[in-house]
């Protein structure tokens, strides 16, 4: 009998540990909604979506989220433009071309790129990449989205390369061999057989990389400047949603003030973006997963 009770207590404890994950989700959504609703009692939601200026910390206050959203999209686009071609090429190379053993030792080495703390990448973008780019293009501002985006892209290469390679690896050998048997080269087999067959896994890896880039904070907080600006010019200072939250948090903003609530309004915008992307990737994974099982 003692064992029975003991078993029940343990199971309850484990269940409680698991339920913390649910509480976390409820907490995140609850906190963001609660503060955002208070925010929209003072600021019109129309202004929030349509105003082209974001100046909550100035005397002349504007609460248009667009400049922060455009900054976030701009840095993300640059990062993906770097990470997608390089990451996908690495995945194909490791899967189709590289000698045996190469794959096993290079995948973990590349994953070190994702283990480096992001504040280190921020330092790198500001003190190495920006000065280097300025030697090529002198008009480049000291703070800009170009170098932050490029460095962010390098950071997320392993997300694309590792997950895409996993997807390629999961394609049945028979498809590859059939293609080789028809006399196709590795290049033809890669792009006409393997990539299409692994497309759902590759798309998921890209979506996860995008979601990661959107939420990335320290690189942009250090290297893009703190100037919300509705532009897609990669050479001038801008600000992203995440960098704004950091900027406010570094200062002394009293709890309950409108400025305090702006970080939650910005946060919920960020959360919606990443939530949609994660949901889409989850859906793709579920829907196309059993294709070759």
């Amino acid at each position: 009998m003692r064992t029975r009770t003991q078993e029940n207590i343990i199971e309850t404890l484990l269940k409680f540990a698991t339920s913390i994950t649910i509480l976390t989700t409820i907490g995140i959504i609850g906190v963001l909604l609660y503060e955002t609703i208070s925010f929209f009692k003072e600021v019109s939601i129309i202004d929030f979506i349509t105003d082209k200026e974001w100046t909550p910390l100035f005397a002349q206050k504007h609460f248009g989220i667009l400049p922060l959203v455009s900054g976030t999209i701009l840095t993300t686009l640059i990062a993906i433009a770097v990470a997608l071609p390089i990451g996908l090429t690495i995945a194909i190379y490791l899967n189709m071309y590289a000698p045996k053993g190469f794959r096993k030792s290079f995948k973990p080495m590349l994953e070190v790129l994702a283990a480096v703390p992001t504040v280190v990448y921020g330092f790198f973008a500001l003190t190495v990449v920006t000065p280097f780019l300025q030697t090529i293009y002198p008009e480049l501002s000291g703070f800009n989205s170009l170098s932050a985006g490029i460095v962010m892209g390098i950071m997320i290469i392993p997300f694309v390369s590792s997950l895409s390679e996993d997807a390629l690896y999961a394609v049945p050998k028979t498809l590859k061999e059939a293609s080789f048997g028809m006399g196709a080269t590795r290049f033809q087999t890669s792009f006409k057989v393997m990539v299409p067959a692994a497309s759902s896994g590759i798309i998921v890896s890209i979506i996860l990389a995008i979601s990661r880039a959107i939420g990335e904070t320290m690189i942009v907080a250090i290297a893009v400047g703190q100037q919300p600006r509705l532009t897609f010019d990669p050479t001038v200072p801008i600000e992203t949603i995440t960098a704004y939250i950091v900027q406010v948090s570094m200062g002394d903003v009293p709890h309950g003030s409108l400025e305090y609530r702006t970080i939650f309004a910005a946060g919920i915008t960020l959360f919606i973006f990443t939530f949609l992307l994660n949901t889409v990737s989850f859906w793709i994974k579920k829907k196309f997963h059993e294709k070759y099982d």
Partner: protein, 288 residues
Amino acid sequence: MKNMTNAQKNKLIDNAFKVFGIACTFFGLIILAILIFNIVEVGLSRIDWDFIKDLPSRRAQKAGIYTALMGTVWILFLTAIIAFPIGVGAGIYLEEYGKKTKWASLLEINIANLAGVPSIIYGLLGLEIFVRIFGLGGSLLAGSLTLSLLILPIIIVSTREALKAVPSSIKDASVALGASKWQTIWNQTLPASIGGVLTGVILAISRAIGETAPLIVVGALAYVPFAPSSPMDEFTVMPIQIFNWVSRPQHEFAVNAAAAIIILLLFTFMMNGVAVYYRNKWQKKIKW
């Protein structure tokens, strides 16, 4: 190109792509090498015993990382103590108890989603719940609770992977001998999978000590005059100290930042190294 046969053209493209593939693979590694080389070049000469044991200062030459280093060590231990039992417990529950129910698949979707939530959002959660409602203020405890929630999904997923790798014959044998479910897990499944479990926990904690944004949001300060002595004390950590120094225009502070980065990277790489070593050793030892 014109007087080549199709086969020759295809062969050429094939080889060109191979070269491109090698270039791409090394690109990331070369950038990593440049990054590390640059930081070591700028910062290494700044590291001495004084730099480690000095308190922060407005003058770059006199400033040290003692308070930040102690903050990071505190955060590391508190986060480990909080996240380890909860994460491993949840992993065990999901893998061994609550399988294949609707509730379980909901939990699974939820955890996958949490893993994709940006770290700064966890900061906002911690700010409202731990700092304000629980009244913990910008303390070490509030910071490590926030980071624990952030790394829970990583620990849960890796715990499940490790448990999954234990063959069911071992569990069946244990149950057949009359062991209860928990006795089986505690005496058979966990010891057999502990290497994988610990690898995941170490990797998750190494991620936590590199985190900056959520702790800034929770209210960790850029300037803390003394090293914390209890979980309720205000604190700063290495990444925030680095961020603070990077944000200043004077070159001397950039040197300080580079020096602090070397120490932070030592932490990160050491933990990753230990995790990988542990995983390899564990995988070699156990052959089912």
